[in-house]
Structures are given as C-alpha cells and as structure tokens.
C-alpha cells in the first residue's frame, strides 16, 4: 500500500518539515506520494516533485484550500484516502490541526509525533514530555501519523522527478472562514530548522533584557527561542517557545541562557547535538543535560561570549 504525505507549504514554497516527513514515509518501505493542497500552489507541486524518493505529487488547487482551514483540508485528504495504507503529516501546527480530523473520520487511531519507525505498524513516540518512549502498534487498517520532524533527516530536495497529477479540489465546508494572519517579521532561520538556537529564560528578567540575546544570535546565525516561563512572563512571543507544549528543536548547537531547565523545556531541546547552559545557579537542572555549563551572571557572560566569537 502506498504512503501519502501531506505537504506543508505557504502556496509559494514547500516547507522543510515536508522533507523530514518524506524520510519517515520512505522508512515504511512503500511508494511515497505527496499531496499539495493549496491555492496557486503549482510551484510548490513542482518543488515536491523534485524531492528524492517521491513517486507522485497530487495537486489540489482551489481558493478554499488557500489557508489550510482544517475542515477543508481534512475533506481533501479524505477524498483521496482510499488506497493509502499510511497518511503522514509533519507534526507542525498545521499537521496537528488536521491529522486527527482525518483519523476520526476514517475511524482509526492517530499516532502522534513519531520519532522512529520500527515496522510499518509499529512506531516509537515520546510521552510524558519525552520522559518515556512508548513503542506502539496500530491494529487499524490505515495509519494516520504525525511525524516529529527533528527525529528524521530531511530528504534531498533535488534529484527526484515525480509526476504531478491534478486532483479535484474538495468543496468549501462553509463552516469556517479565514480572517487573517499576523506573521512575525523575522530575518532569522526558522526555529525548528535552525542549525543553532539561542534560547532565553526567566533569568533574562524582562522583554528589554531579552534583546541581549540578539547580537549573540546574529553572530551565530541562530534562531531565538524561549522557555515557557519567559513566554508566560511576556519576555518573548509564544511562537518562540521551546518545550513540551511549544516547539521541538534539535539543532547542532543549543545555547540556553538564564533557563533553569524545567522538565517541559528539556522535552523540547534535549536532542540537540551540543547544549551550552549559562546560568548563575549552579544547581539548575539545565546543567544536567548541558555538554558545557557555565555558572555565571548572564548579563556579563553573554556580551563577553558575543565578543569572543
């Protein structure tokens, strides 16, 4: 049975999360098709067709699919679901929004946030904020899955030559309407795809002080993240949040500044390759996962580090 991957995109560009999901799909051992559902998204379908390992791209293009409304996107997937043994979404805000709708309508369980494929019906997934790893087996005919993108390498974006087939778009449900979007303007790399992440916690003390991280992030070409405590305190926007209920990151280098290291935060970053922690409290749990710990006043250490790099 073929595997269907639902592409993440903004109608102009295929998002990197799709590439990681294709790798997870390839591990199932069947042909991989990619669905691009959008509006004016022909270019995205073209990009998806070039991804190594993809054998066919399905393009559903219509105004009602422009904004990824869960109701319409789920109908689109359901209209095509027959014949697929696995339906994979990246575990992004959009994938998490839509996948359970598809699973419920197919009357199957969804397997959330898989980090490994043990067999076509057996997967590993973190539970309890990553403090335990469950190996689960699905007894359903169709497996609807969201993929933790940091757990799978990105498929090569070039070299494939899949065909693009246009499919009939699903009708507008009329139940919901898109009103607007406020996208934070940001020249930095995307948090979940960045090679380096510099994150701040409550130790920064204020939104003003949080800006101290920017020169360091600039120097390192890093994305900026934040702990839930920092977000709750209003120092940083919510979409910077790294942790169990925020984003899951696994960069080459993660620099935790003024972060104590609550379980919820560690859940989001402990798979990073190298972790640096700067905190004045030597007992902070973040030092338990850090490769390099520096017990110091961050207001001195961060500018000093920025200058030294």
């Amino acid at each position: 049975m073929t595997t269907l991957v639902i592409a993440e995109h903004d109608n102009a560009e295929l998002k990197g999360a799709t590439l990681n999901t294709v790798t997870a799909a390839a591990a199932l051992g069947a042909d991989v098709h990619v669905l691009v559902a959008g509006s004016g998204a022909q270019a995205v379908a073209g990009q998806a067709a070039k991804v190594a390992g993809v054998s066919k791209v399905l393009l559903a293009d219509a105004p009602q699919l422009a904004d990824g409304l869960a109701e319409n996107l789920a109908e689109q997937v359901l209209a095509l679901a027959q014949g697929y043994g696995h339906i994979l979404f990246p575990a992004t805000a959009s994938g998490k929004n839509v996948a359970p709708r598809v699973a419920a309508r197919l009357d199957v369980a969804q397997i959330s946030d898989i980090t490994a494929v043990d067999a076509p019906d057996t997967f590993q997934r973190p539970i309890y904020a990553g403090n335990a790893i469950a190996t689960v087996q699905s007894v359903d005919a169709v497996k609807v899955i969201t993929v933790r993108t940091t757990a799978f390498d990105a498929a090569t974006a070039e070299g494939g030559s899949a065909s693009v087939e246009t499919v009939a778009p699903a009708a507008d449900s009329g139940l919901s309407a898109f009103v607007g979007r406020e996208v934070a303007k940001n020249d930095r790399p995307e948090l979940t795809a960045a090679r380096v992440v510099v994150s701040g916690g409550r130790g920064l003390g204020s939104a003003e002080n949080f800006k101290l991280l920017e020169p360091l992030a600039d120097k390192l070409g890093a994305a900026v993240g934040a702990s839930r405590a920092a977000v709750d305190a209003g120092y940083a926007p919510n979409d910077w949040q790294v942790g169990q209920t925020g984003k899951i990151v696994a960069p080459q280098l993660y620099v935790a500044v003024g972060i104590s290291g609550a379980i919820q935060h560690l859940a989001g970053m402990k798979d990073s390759k190298v972790i640096v922690a700067i905190n004045k409290d030597a007992e902070a749990p973040i030092f338990g996962v850090a490769d390099y710990g520096l017990v110091a006043d961050l207001f001195q250490a961060v500018p000093e580090l920025t200058a030294a790099l």
Partner: protein, 249 residues
C-alpha cells in the same frame, strides 16, 4: 448557550515520571494527580464566558476512573455549574474519548465545546479535533483569544511563525493554548460550594460507545540518556571548547 468542557486527570506537571522496570508503562502509583493544565484554561475560559453573560451554563465532563470526580470538583470550584463523569477503568485513547464526548454532546446539545489542546501525559493533541470531525463541526485549535458574537466564534490561534484568526459557525470546538487566559486560584468557599453541585455518572455502555484501544503499547522505555557534560570556568574556555572540541562554531 451551554458550554461543555472536557477535563482530564493527569500526573501533575511537576512530577517527573519513572518508567516501570518491566517496561509495561510509567509508574503512576502514589503520584500526585491534577487537572491537565490546558483543561484548567478551558474551564476558566468557559467560566469567563458565563460571567460575561455569553454562556448560560458550563458543564464539565471527564472520562476515566472514579477518582476523576476530584478533577470535576476542581472544575466546579473554578466555575462549572455541574459535571458528568463517564466512569470506566479501561485504557481510554483519544478516539474513544472523542466518541464518548460526541455521545454526550448529542445528549447535552452545547453550542460550544472548549478543550485543552493536549494532555500532558500522552501528549497526543487529538481529542478536540477528533470530536469536531465526528460532530461535523468546525474547530479552532491552539486558541489564544476567543470572541463570541452573532452565532459565530472568532478565534485567534497560535500557529508556527505567528497568529492566525478564523471565524467559526456555531456550534464549534475550540482547543486552548497557554495564553488564552490565566486560570484563577480556587478559593475555599468555592471548593465548599463545588461539593454541593450536581455530579452525574454514566458508563461507556450507557452511551453506546465501544472504547476498545486501537493502539497496543508494546513497551515503554527510558529515553536515551545524555552523557554528563562539564563545567567550564569562564567564557574563554567555553569558546575554546565550542571551537576545538565540539567544532560547532
């Protein structure tokens, strides 16, 4: 208008769970249990809607063991008017819970269901979306703002890279994100009052729902441990390690 708020009893967010040595699951015996934090936000939001006059009644629901009554009493202490427990000792997975909730929605006919976006035990993030799909209702997940007017819910959602606003026709399902509100502290007088509020108990059989699990847990294991790192004395030593040992800068 009636608002239904499902709440889940979970291991308290401050507890670091331990995997059982036979890998059959995590050890939850004698561990502090609390209401799932996102569900607390859901109950708070429903209570505020009632206080603003936008909702007439708030009904809290929980599915699970008899001790979920405590969670429902907390929900009523925050502000729910009454509660329903669907009592079972079975292992309930999100699809089964969504089916139980659908049966209750058919019975109670709320215009709005507010749920937490994710439970912090199984981290599934599915139940609200599944319920909306089974009901054929629109949904707004990860809500940071909710406004009701003219038979519509206008919801601001936390999405990757920023915020998005959608308008839903009621009835609808909304799931909460962290910044929707800050739940109030439960006061002693309200805890006392909550003890007198009605709490009905049903079973999955009475609701005609098959709750058999669809996912078999083969084992639960410890995550790979990180090897212990080192303390560096100063910034210069840190930079040296990053450049010459880790080679990441």
């Amino acid at each position: 208008m009636k608002v239904l708020v499902p709440v889940k009893r979970v291991v308290d967010y401050n507890v670091k769970v331990r995997v059982k040595s036979d890998q059959s699951g995590v050890d939850v015996a004698n561990v502090k249990m609390s209401m799932n934090p996102f569900d607390e936000i859901a109950i708070e939001e429903a209570t505020r809607l009632k206080e603003q006059g936008a909702a007439a009644e708030v009904v809290a629901v929980s599915c699970g063991v008899a001790q979920c009554q405590e969670t429902l009493r907390t929900a009523m202490a925050i502000g729910a008017d009454r509660a329903v427990l669907v009592q079972t000792d079975a292992d309930l997975q999100p699809l089964a819970v969504a089916k139980l909730l659908k049966a209750l929605v058919d019975k109670e006919q709320p215009q709005l269901v507010i749920l937490g976006k994710q439970a912090i035990d199984d981290d599934a993030n599915q139940t609200g979306q599944m319920l909306a799909a089974l009901l054929g209702w629109p949904q707004a997940t990860f809500a940071s703002k909710l406004v009701l007017s003219d038979g519509k819910a206008t919801v601001t959602r936390e999405v990757d890279g920023g915020l998005e606003t959608v308008a839903l026709k009621l009835p609808a399902v909304v799931t909460t994100d962290l910044r929707l509100n800050e739940p109030r502290y439960v006061t002693l007088p309200n805890i006392m009052k909550a003890k007198k509020k009605p709490l009905d108990t049903l079973t999955p059989d009475e609701l005609g729902v098959d709750v058999a699990p669809r996912l078999k847990t083969l084992k639960v294991s410890e995550p790979p441990a990180r090897s212990a790192g080192i303390q560096v004395p100063d910034v210069a030593a840190l930079v040296d390690k990053l450049k010459n040992e880790a080679k990441v800068v």
